[in-house]
Amino acid sequence: MKKDFQLKLAGLLLMTALLAFTCGKEGNDDGSNPGSTDAFKSAMLVNYADNLIVPAYTDLNNKLGALNSSVNAFLAAPSELTLAATREPFKAAYLSFQGVSVLYFGPASAQLLNNYINTFPTVPTRIEKGIETGTYNFNIPQNSDSIQGFPALDYLLYAPDAVNKFSGVGAAKRKKYVQDVLVRMKTLVENTLSQWNGPYHHTFIASLKTDVGSSIGSLVNQFAYEMDALKGPRIGWPFGKQSNGIVFADKCEGYYSGISAELAIANLSSLKNYYTGANGDGIADYLVLLKKQDLNNAVLAQFDLTLAALNAIPKPLSAAFVNNPALVEDAYKQVQKLLTLIKTDLASATAVQITYQDNDGD
């Protein structure tokens, strides 16, 4: 998803980056803010690391452990009952991933975590071919067609005749594939978590500037990136925003399990949580410190409007694309508004340059 996504938005992104550039100049030229805000920023980053980020990865790690157990129980004795027992753990783990999705910098970026475990849509034909031949390489970065991670499990575990497919002769290869997918997901998340518990923790909390590569810069960039993902691959594209209104429901995140809407809502709720800093100081409080109270109010209000609009869509999302297009359209518009607030207004207020796109023409 990511590559197409970036290319198609490149023009808009470039403009935004330039805008952020220009606006940033009225603030602090070197990306460092006056010393007086350093203590605040330091405490804020500690709050992010210790109260939000590490707990989020720990939760995902635990949920993946539970998912792994339930899936292994199913693989050991495939039945409707054991399959049903994987449903909740799958959903819990996938929802938990939404709580770390925005953290795609530092350790996650170094592991290419998001790329490997949640590039969607998945490509059933390639997965089936991999199972058939026993030849697949999970170390190749995905661009648009995924054969691993949550999207692969979504396809494999929610197939209409899953119990049959995992039973009897010939199911061994399919079982191995699922186990390989899970082992890889666990390894990537464990590595990411251990880096956050290792030296990167210090790197993150000691980075008090807002320039490219700084902690605040990374957070704001990823806020915008997640909003772009919500507007594009999570809702807009399957809804037909890039295909003249022709719906591609099967391109949804979590299409087979039918939890696309829940995932989108979890993603946005988590994003709001990161924006506010939950019970501690976050970017929201940083804006107040910078005397941008009005912007902060506008962002918070838009978060709520957008969440309400997403909640108003009947589930599953894939059906709502066709049956309730007006509600989806409204949510899409709210997402766009929030995206603009974050990507231009918030970025410029914090003197952060949006850099995640490939804006190069050559």
Binding site: F21, F105, S109, A110, T203, V212, S218, Y356, D358
Partner: protein
């Protein structure tokens, strides 16, 4: 020998003092475009067009296996190798280039190095159809990387901005003060004027360059190569306007024999061309720190690789020390997958610091 030298020195002194006695330089104006009598710089400007054709062909590796013969012919400008596909809508299109007797190979610094990078792109192009990964050459997204994540065509394209442009411009400007400025050759002016014009041609900007114009690739007379990076990465430094002004001022000063102004222009040109390369290198060791998609990240790093190669051709008076330059090279020659696996971007941050310490603030 000794006597000859003595007379040279004596001559220079006499000349200088006679200048001082005359005490004034005729008033002259500096035109807003690079328009003077007897201006001619086809050789250098055409090499910039060749640069575009050559590097465009190397870029075709994303969709086909490159021909080693073609790469050789383009480099040597033989066998009518330039085609409409790679060299159109530029000051010297393929039809013109193919008629010329000069080439890139004869005027680029470190020819063997740059040729080897280009040849490596040919070798890697065999894998344009398979996915790349750590230790495996191939495609990631729409880009083609070697087994360490490097795009060789970027090493060539950006590296030659130093090895072709910066190198030749600095060499010419170093020689300018000793060039003859009295014997006018019709159409070319004096040796000093002609060489100055040749230096201008290596910058890659049009004679009517305008920093406020939003140039597009549809425009035939657009900034190319290093000149294209004034707007792309040298904006914060305002390098494009400064370099263009210095070239016009210096050329007018040469006509008026105002050597003080000429020498000031030489200093400005050298400083800001080098800083443009440095600012580009800075940008491409900075941006990848927040890029997560490997194709975007490695593309940036590949550009950084090329621009750091280009910094080799900085002026002798450069504030970037040889030791620090070597550190930059070591950093950017690290396997890009290894760089990507460091969540703290320690090495890239070190590169940023080296560049900022040497040149001051390079980007907003």
């Amino acid at each position: 020998m000794k006597n000859a030298l003595f007379f040279c020195v004596l001559g220079a002194v006499v000349f200088l003092s006679s200048c001082e006695k005359e005490d004034e330089i005729q008033a002259y104006t500096v035109p807003t475009t690079y328009t003077f009598d007897n201006v001619e710089y086809k050789e250098s400007a055409a090499r910039i067009s060749m640069w575009l054709g050559y590097t465009t062909y190397l870029g075709r590796s994303i969709r086909k296996v490159l021909s080693q013969d073609t790469v050789n012919y383009l480099w040597n400008n033989s066998n009518a190798a330039y085609t409409a596909d790679v060299a159109s809508n530029i000051p010297y299109p393929h039809t013109e280039i193919n008629k010329l007797t000069f080439n890139l190979a004869s005027k680029s610094a470190d020819v063997n190095t740059f040729k080897a990078y280009a040849d490596s792109m040919v070798a890697v192009s065999k894998f344009f159809n398979r996915p790349g990964a750590k230790g495996v050459a191939g495609k990631i997204g729409s880009r083609l990387f070697n087994y360490t994540g490097l795009e060789f065509n970027q090493a060539v394209a950006k590296g030659l901005m130093g090895g072709l442009s910066l190198y030749n411009i600095n060499a010419i400007l170093d020689k300018i003060p000793s060039d003859d400025n009295t014997i006018v050759v019709a159409g070319q002016g004096t040796a000093m004027q002609h060489n100055w014009d040749l230096a201008f041609g290596y910058v890659g900007i049009p004679a009517n360059y305008d920093t406020t114009t939003a140039y597009t690739s549809a425009m035939e007379n657009r900034p190319l190569a290093l000149g294209g990076y004034f707007a792309e990465r040298g904006k914060y430094l305002k390098a494009g306007g400064l370099v263009f002004e210095a070239f016009r001022k210096g050329r007018a000063a040469i006509v008026a024999k105002d050597y003080k102004t000429r020498d000031a222009a030489i200093a400005t040109i050298k400083e800001y061309l080098e800083k443009t390369v440095a600012a580009s290198a800075y940008y491409y060791v900075t941006t990848p720190q927040t890029q997560v998609a490997l194709d975007a990240k490695f593309h940036s790093l590949s550009e950084g690789f090329g621009f750091i190669l280009a910094l080799k051709y900085r002026d002798v008076s450069s504030k970037l020390t040889p030791a620090n330059y070597q550190t930059l090279l070591d950093i950017i020659k690290t396997n890009f997958y290894t760089l990507a696996e460091d969540p703290s971007n320690t090495k890239l941050k070190q590169a940023q610091t080296i560049l900022t310490n040497a040149y001051g603030k390079l980007q907003p």
